[in-house]
């Protein structure tokens, strides 16, 4: 699971600093930096906190506070693919909870979990702006709509195939 992958990643301080310095001059640079770090490393390593704090001249506590406030920032890498399934009202009206049940029963994975082989992380989101195509999800930033159990199975199958 997540923790092991985290430990196996070597933390490249030089690269982190490079990213931070490139963005530190922006007004309100915190979120752009955190997004860029997560994009590069897949998560925000604890060891990045003091680097960010120093570059932006804020306290570590404030940096840590910002990271933990937002749902997007992870403290450990996600699986190789991330499925973000919408569970807001519009998707509820079209049975998204049935899909969540299906994921649990047929794929043995629930929102908030990463599969044992590290291939897939599932997360709940509340609205993707695809409400006329409910139920909807994002797979690695690509939107998918009009989901049902079969389409979900096919999409997850494709992901597995692509990773072989």
């Amino acid at each position: 699971m997540g923790q092991e992958v985290a430990a196996s990643l070597s933390f490249d301080e030089g690269r982190a600093l490079e990213i931070i310095e490139k963005l530190a001059q922006l007004e309100g640079a915190m979120l752009p930096i955190l997004h860029a770090l997560q994009e590069a490393f897949g998560y925000i390593d604890q060891r990045m906190v003091p680097l960010v704090a120093q570059a932006l001249n804020v306290s570590r506590a404030e940096t840590h506070g910002a990271i933990t406030f937002y749902h997007d920032f992870r403290d450990a890498p996600a699986g190789r693919h991330v499925l973000r399934i919408c569970r807001a009202e519009s998707c509820q009206s079209m049975g998204c909870e049935r899909l969540v049940d299906h994921l649990r029963i047929a794929h043995h994975i629930e929102p908030g979990q990463t599969s044992a082989d590290g291939a897939l992380t599932i997360e709940s989101v509340y609205c993707l702006g695809q409400c006329a195509l409910s139920p909807a999800a994002l797979i690695d930033d690509e939107p998918v709509g009009r989901l049902d159990e079969a389409r979900l199975d096919a999409l997850l199958g494709q992901l597995n195939g692509a990773r072989a």
């Binding site: 509820q92 702006g129 409400c131």
Partner: protein
């Protein structure tokens, strides 16, 4: 001359296979030695028809709906480049009932043009508003927006021009225009569709706003759930800058305005304006107490216009056609048009821009065609997660700010989510409380703790535990949240809860499913 084919790059179209269709069309045309030009347009708003492919013919643009990559060879065989007959053919797009019945002002270009072509934008009336604004004094521009009656489309409905007046009057070395593109309400996607389908309209609106109030810098804060919209805005900003519309000398006027797109990080509360400003400044998105208003002390403490995407995107039309032309649409104190979004369990979901005053029923039945499941329609939630659930008996309520308020609901961002008769309104009320608990910024006790208590109390009511006493407790909790919350997250969560309780009391009296609606 090569045939022009329009295949949307809007993320709704992509979500149902538009990319594969575009590839298949290119491949098939190549194999047949045909010369075609594929334009990646935005969406028309007929989301149920996506992927909607259009071909340009002497008779106009002919549409083919719900096209899949597999259909493509047959479409070529059917002569679709000349508008030929095929099962997917829907006819001339402009003549479709859905399109003809609308009053498309803000979304006039969306789905028609190439979103990233400045030439297309200009050819379809783009920058006419800016041109007129540049010929006016800043104060005249502000008064034009006041006179149009435009009210904020983000939910609160505050008059946009009045807000601008405050910022224009503030003395400061720096001022900002911030566009709120956090669009967190379920059932809404108009901001996304505009940013992906006609981003220059938003840019033009922000430029005009900047010139009017004396701000030279703008930010668009886009939720991270919208990666495509973010990229579209980033590209459009670069193109507008290269075209001389952003930078130290806006359109040769000698006046500066530039802007940037920024990404949110997954927090519903960051749609609240002061939380959004905190977030832009790089902190936790915690709500600030008002006053001071952002118009006086906003981003980095400077006077700031913060407006929703649709508010700002309405401005170019208002300037181009005049305040009175805009104000001629609408009813009562709700002037102009609203892009409504029809979503959820509905046959034909999508975006419909109409003057205020259309009824909920007209939208969900006439445009929407009833439920997708074919079952009986039971409830419509209007205005996002903080909006009320309307039963059938109230569907003739007109959609304008005041009528919605008197029906104990709100228009919000104009989203309508349809539910069929399988919905359990006690469960929806529970979800409203749960959502508040998940997304609370944590500042106020009634919002942070009260919402979690609300979930528990609803569970007890449904389970039949001291039903009367607990219903009373739920009402008290709702009162405490309404009165004791700094912002509308805690303050309005009671709205969906109470509407469910009022209009669907029976749902609270039967055993609810044990599974929860969210983690």
């Amino acid at each position: 001359m090569s045939a022009r084919i329009f295949i949307p790059s809007d993320s709704s179209a992509l979500a149902v296979g538009a990319e594969a269709v575009a590839r298949a069309v290119a491949k098939e045309a190549h194999a047949r030695g045909l010369d075609v030009l594929i334009v990646r347009n935005g969406a028309r708003g007929m989301v149920w028809l996506e992927p909607l492919v259009e071909v340009e013919t002497p008779q106009g643009r002919i549409g083919y709906g719900q096209v899949s990559a597999r259909d493509v060879p047959a479409l070529f065989d059917a002569g679709f480049l000349q508008g030929g007959e095929h099962t997917t053919r829907v006819g001339k797009v402009e003549d479709l009932d859905w399109m003809r019945r609308q009053q498309r002002l803000t979304f006039a270009r969306c789905g028609v043009t190439d979103p990233l072509s400045l030439d297309d934008y200009r050819a379809h009336g783009g920058f006419a508003g800016l041109k007129r604004a540049l010929a006016m004094t800043p104060a005249e521009v502000v008064e034009e927006v006041v006179a149009s009656g435009l009210r904020g489309r983000g939910g609160a409905g505050f008059p946009t021009g009045v807000k601008w007046r405050t910022v224009a009057g503030a003395q400061a070395d720096r001022k900002y225009i911030v566009c709120n593109a956090d669009e967190g309400d379920s059932g809404t996607f108009a901001d996304r569709m505009l940013m992906e389908g006609d981003p220059f309209t938003l840019i033009e609106g922000m430029i005009i706003s900047g010139l009017a109030v004396g701000a030279s810098k703008g930010y668009v804060y886009i939720r991270s759930e919208y990666p495509h919209a973010f990229r579209a805005m980033q590209r459009a900003i670069e193109i507008a800058r290269a075209g001389g519309f952003l930078g130290p000398d806006v359109a040769g006027s000698g006046r500066p305005f530039d802007m940037e797109a920024r990404l949110g990080a997954g927090a519903y509360i960051c749609g609240e304006e002061t939380s959004l400003l905190e977030s832009l400044e790089g902190r936790r998105g915690q709500v600030r107490a008002k006053p001071p208003l952002p118009a006086v002390q906003g981003l980095f403490g400077k006077p700031t216009v913060i407006n929703n995407v649709l508010s700002l995107a309405s401005v170019p039309w208002i300037l181009a056609h005049g305040a009175s032309a805009y104000a001629a649409f609408g009813m009562g104190r709700s002037r102009g048009t609203q892009p409504f979004q029809i979503a959820g369990n509905v046959k034909r979901g999508g975006l419909v821009e109409l003057a205020f005053g259309v009824t909920i029923r007209d939208l969900v039945e006439h445009f929407g065609g009833g439920t997708a499941s074919g079952r009986k329609l039971r409830a419509v939630q209007v205005g996002g997660p903080l909006g009320a659930y309307f039963p059938d008996a109230l569907l003739d309520t007109p959609l304008d700010y005041e009528s919605m308020l008197s029906a104990k609901g709100m228009l919000g961002h104009g989203g309508l989510v349809v539910f069929d008769d399988s919905v359990d309104l006690a469960r929806q009320a529970r979800f409203a409380m749960q959502f508040c608990a998940i997304e609370s910024c944590g500042k106020c006790t009634p919002c942070r703790i009260g919402s979690t208590r609300g979930v528990e109390v609803i569970d007890k009511i449904v389970a039949g535990v001291a039903r009367e006493k607990n219903t009373e407790l739920l009402l008290d909790l709702c009162d405490a949240m309404t009165d004791g919350s700094l912002c509308a997250l805690g303050g309005l969560t009671p709205m969906p809860v109470l509407s469910a309780l009022t209009h669907f009391p029976g749902d609270f009296e039967r055993p609810a499913p044990t599974r929860q609606t969210a983690e």
